[in-house]
Each structure stands twice: as structure tokens, then as C-alpha cells.
Amino acid sequence: MKRKFKSWGTFLLSITLVSALLLTACSDGKSKSGAGGNGDKGGKAEKVELKLGFYSSAQSDAKMQELIDKFQSEHPNITIKTESSPYNQFFQKLDTQIAAESAPDLWLSDGVLVPKYAERGVLKDLTPLIEKDLKKDDYFGLDFNKDANGKYWGVPQGIQIAVLYYNKDMFDEAKVEYPTEDWTWDDLKAAAEKLTKDSTGKYANDSAFDKNKVSQYGLTFFSITEGWMTVLKSYGGGVLDETLTKSVINTPENKQALDWIVDGMQRELLPTPSDLKSFQSNMAPFPSKAAAMRIGIYARTIDANAAELNYDVTLLPKGPDGKRFSPVIANSWVINKKAEGAKGDAAWEWVKFWATEDEVQKEWASLGEAVPVKKSVANSEEFLSGKPENKQAFLDSFEFAGTLDVNAVWSEWVGKFNDNINRAFEGEIPADQALKQADTEVQQVLDEFYKK
């Protein structure tokens, strides 16, 4: 009797497993035929449903919906179904959707993540479409999505480019001249010395200055974009070579740049990563009036304006040989490789609508989140007016702008690089040792992906 029950149990278990398998197998077949069905429908009735993914924010969602409505009224055959998530969850979800073959037809990608999806074969190559429909000279930053083989994987939705922010009140109080476009990083440090203040009000160039009680930093400094990459590159260094598969970390130029940073942090003119922990966020020191200067992308004007700072911006300083570098992040529209036929055409229509129409560009620019992609709009009075006064500096910086050595494993190598270099920043290991270790570990990350 007992034996019989045992075999029954096994039987039931196997039935469950088999039906589970069948269920998943069926679902695959269904979804494929479903997609095909939609495509056919598009051909006949010219009706297309487009799944559009973007990360939401309280400020921009209404504007996005407004633009979507405008697009739909201009293209009555296209219905847009939006898929939005909070920024951090968006990419977590996207990875799940890609694994389950139900990613949106096109989505807004963080600029630094475009190669991650492109090199894993998820995105459509936009090179022929861009050549056909977009005049490259009319736009900023198309090339920031170009890979080492000259292919384009996305069209920028808005551009983040870094300049030097400075708090005028703090400069006035310390009687220091405002930064100029001729500054070198050493000029910046000399000014930072006069602007770094301890809690008793003594500046860093005073012998009684207590560097353990800093209440105001000369320059706030955080991670890659608004931190080390800008300095490394203007000193002639960098992280990856032009193929973006090989580390060039251990060089004399990088050593020189790193020495500049570490010296600044040891003297507390710049906050170390652990100093930043005492702030509401890593971005907080400048808007909360605890730093006189920052390397900041365009979006940082939002917080600076919200905090009602008396501030302005100028070009980032030059390196010792006169080289400049301004990091760029171009959040971009990318199209799913699986969006073919009518769907693919509709997706490209949306990208064109976004990039080419002046009105759309102006509407989006009015949110103040990014520099418009279209040069004519970026150069218009509408964009250039308002705070900060010298917005022109953002546009002038395009002359020496570059990406953050972005490739398919960007997040991973930035993590490794930060782990090592932060130890040098905290004074735990010497700069050359940090560079050497970072070089080995970053190369290992690169090899794991590219040497397969």
C-alpha cells in the first residue's frame, strides 16, 4: 500500500514538471505568432502599436505625454503604448524584458548604457537611417553614439555636457576672482585653497586652518563624470584606448592627474569619497552651499536653481599642456532590433519627430533637463536665456567634448576603477599602486567580455 503511494507521488511530481515545461514552451510559440500577427495587421490597415519605454520623473512625465499626444495626432496610424518605470528600476526591468523577449520597440537609454545593449545584439543599427534622414551638422552629439566601427546605435534625446560651476557669493566672500576660461587645474587648486573653509571660518591658506573640520570645500568631486575622468583626460590620460577594449590606465599622464587629485583631497580642498557620506547625496555639496565649485553636467542647473544659488558656469580648466576635456552623456532613443517592418518604420518616425522638429526640441528643452540636440534650438534665445547667465559655456564645450570611454562593460569597469582609485583618494595606498591595480582589474573585466 505504502509503495503504491510512493509511486503515485513520483507520478504526480513528474506530471507537474512536464506541464510546467509545456506551459513555457507554449508561451514562446504564442508570443512569436502574436508579434507576427501584429506586423501583418500593420501592413493591411497601416495601424501600428508602438511600445515606447522611458524612465519617468515627476517633472517630465506630463511633457512626455504631451509630446506623445502631438506625435499621435500627426501620425494617426500609430498608437503609442508607454512603458515607464523609475530610473533605477527601468534598466532592471529592461534586462528582464529582453530575457523574456518582450522589450519595448524603442526606448530611452541612458547614454552610458547604449553600447551595453548594442554590443549584445539587442539594438537596431541606425547608420543607414541617420545617413538618409538626418543632416549630421544640424545636431550635437550624434557621434557620441558611434562605436569603434563607425556604426550609430542611437539618436540623442538630450545631452549632458560638463562645465565648471562656481558659487559667486563664496568667491565674493573670500575676495577671489571668478574663474576664467584660461584657468588650468593648478589655477583652480590655488583658488580652492582660498575658498576652503573650516567651521571656525579660517581658510585653507591660513596656518590655523583645521582640515578635520571643513565646512566648505573648494571643489566638490564625485566619481567619474563629475570627478576623475575630466581631470585624467585633460592631463592627456584616460582609461581605455580608441578600440575601447584595452586599458591604458597605468601611464605617467594619469599618474600626474591622480597626484593632483590626491593632493587636493589630502589637504581637504576636495572632499574624499568618505567625506561625501555626510551629505544628503553625493551631488548635494554644491547646491547646499558646502562647496564653492563643482564639475557639473547641464542637469545640475536644476538643483542649483532650486536652491536659489547665486552662481554661474564657465569652461572646465585646461591641463598642463593646454588640453581640455568635457565629459558628455547623451541619453538616446534606441530601437529594438526586433522592431521590423511597419513597427520599425514607426519607431524611426518617433526618433525623427523628436530630433528634427524644432517645436518638440523647444518643448523638451523648457524642462531644463538637457541641452537640446538640435543646434538651431540650442543656439536660440529661449535656451540661452535664464540661469545660469553663461549658458553659452555648455555649447562652447562641445569643441572638446568626449564620452566616458563607454563600452559594453562600462558599469563593470567603472566599478573596478573606483574601488582602487578611491583607496588612493582616502590615502590608504599610494597613487601608482592604485593605478597598477586598477589597470589589471579593468583589463580583466574587458577580457571577460571581448576575448570570448
Binding site: 507521488g9 512625465d61 515607464s84 524584458q97 523574456a100 544628503q280
Partner: protein
């Protein structure tokens, strides 16, 4: 007598001080929700907001459909709690009292699944719900609870095992079948455990981020945590509004706690009798 009084005073001082320490972070949150952005990021921090920004709370309601988010959260949470109580107690009853083949092995398997991190399960779940056409609906969020989750099974089974067999034997003599025993004997005797599981499920579901973030795509289907997170955006924090929204989303949890408290007390009382 005097000594007794000094002792009392000392005792109360300790209690008041430690409860102040506990309340501080909460008060900080309340105060932060009433600051402007400039006040919020001020260094050194200004504890009490001046002037008080009462309109932060009104602003939150303008920044997103919070009524809709709340409704969604309530639907998911209520259905989840009912489902968890129903399914977990049924399964637990079977594991605690019924005789069937491979019982202990199956129970071990159930416990084993507790060790799988949710992140690993999310892709298979996504695939399953996609094939059932349940994505971007609230269903996947609560239906999972109707399929008996291991923690609840374990909790209920332990409670059921503690009930002396004499009760059900006498019930059997009176002609009860297993369902009746479950319904008339086990359920009433384990109220505190039910309350515990209900509160636990409520809290988990109310605060859940991963599953709703993955399964939901339309704004009108978002639950509260996702709604609050989606206020932030990539570049701008809106921190003071998020704090205000988070505080408002706390109110139902507080209510549930106040309501369920009496069951906790009951639980400890009956433990004393046994």
C-alpha cells in the same frame, strides 16, 4: 518607599530617553517633509523647518496620481493578505495533520524554496505571467500569495503542531471531517498566528518594489512605492516631496498595526495560560 520612588524616576528617565532616540529619526523625516529643497540640503542641517512648507503635501498630489497608486496598493495588499491566510493555512494544515506520501520530503522542498533569492525567480515569473497575459495588471502581484508561500506555510504549520491532538480527536468523535476540523478547531485557536502572518504579508506587499517594478508598465497601474520612486527622475531628486509621499504611504501601516495590536496581546495572554 523613597528608594522605590527614585527607582521609578530613574526607570522612567531611561525609558523616555531611549524612546526619544527611537523617535528622532521619525521626527527628522517628518521635519524633512516640511522643508523646501534649499532647506532640505542645507549644511549643517537645520532640524526644524523654517518656514514650514505645508504645501509639500499638496504638491505631491499634483506630481502624480497618488489616489490611483493608493487604490492599487490597497487592492494588491488586501487580496494578498486574504490569499496568504487562506492558502498558507490550508497547506500548513495538510503538512501538520494529514497523512500523505512524501509528506516530509515535500515539506523540505517547500522550505528549500525559501533559500532562492527573489531576483533569481523574477525572469521565470515574468515569462509565466507574460504567457498568461497578466503583465501590466495587478494580478501577478497578489495571485502569487494565493499559491501559498513557504514562510507562511512554515509559520502556520508550527502553530498547528502546537495544538494538542485531543481536540481534533474529540471533534472527530463528534463527526467532523478534516475541513470542519480545520475551520472550527484550528482557525479559532491560532488567531494570533493568523494576525502575525497578516501583518507580515501586509508590510511586505505594501512596501514591495521588485515585482511591481518589473511587472507593471503603465503609470495608472503603479503601486505606491513605485509611484514614489518614479517622482525622482534621473537628474532631479525632489527629495522633500518623496519624503512627504513616503510618510503619507505610512499611514495605512500604522493603522493596521494599531488594529492588530490587540491580537498580539491576546497571543501572549493565551501563551501564559498554556
Amino acid at each position: 518607599m523613597k528608594l522605590n520612588r527614585t527607582r521609578k524616576i530613574a526607570g522612567y528617565t531611561v525609558i523616555i530617553l531611549s524612546s526619544l532616540i527611537m523617535v528622532m529619526p521619525f521626527l527628522t523625516t517628518v521635519f524633512n517633509s516640511l522643508k523646501s529643497y534649499a532647506q532640505y540640503t542645507k549644511v549643517p542641517p537645520q532640524w526644524i523647518p523654517d518656514p514650514v512648507q505645508w504645501n509639500n503635501y499638496a504638491e505631491v498630489w499634483k506630481l502624480g496620481p497618488f489616489g490611483q497608486y493608493t487604490t492599487n496598493s490597497v487592492i494588491v495588499t488586501v487580496l494578498s493578505v486574504v490569499g496568504a491566510l487562506f492558502s498558507c493555512s490550508m497547506v500548513a494544515y495538510a503538512f501538520a495533520r494529514l497523512k500523505f506520501p512524501l509528506k516530509n520530503t515535500l515539506f523540505l522542498v517547500v522550505l528549500g524554496t525559501m533559500m532562492i533569492p527573489p531576483v533569481v525567480l523574477i525572469i521565470p515569473q515574468f515569462v509565466i505571467f507574460k504567457s498568461l497575459h497578466m503583465l501590466d495588471t495587478l494580478t501577478p502581484l497578489w495571485i502569487i500569495e494565493w499559491l501559498a508561500q513557504p514562510f507562511g506555510i512554515f509559520l502556520m504549520r508550527q502553530a498547528f503542531l502546537a495544538i494538542p491532538k485531543d481536540y481534533e480527536e474529540s471533534a472527530k468523535l463528534d463527526g467532523c471531517n478534516p475541513i470542519q476540523i480545520y475551520w472550527r478547531i484550528f482557525l479559532p485557536m491560532c488567531k494570533p498566528t493568523f494576525a502575525t502572518l497578516a501583518v507580515f504579508t501586509f508590510m511586505t506587499k505594501w512596501n514591495e518594489i521588485l515585482s511591481p517594478a518589473i511587472f507593471l508598465t503603465s503609470k495608472e497601474n503603479f503601486t505606491l512605492p513605485i509611484g514614489i520612486l518614479s517622482m525622482a527622475g534621473q537628474w532631479s531628486g525632489n527629495e522633500q516631496y518623496m519624503v512627504a509621499a513616503a510618510l503619507m504611504s505610512l499611514i495605512p501601516i500604522l493603522l493596521v498595526f494599531l488594529f492588530a495590536e490587540k491580537y498580539f496581546v491576546q497571543g501572549s495572554n493565551s501563551a501564559g495560560i498554556k
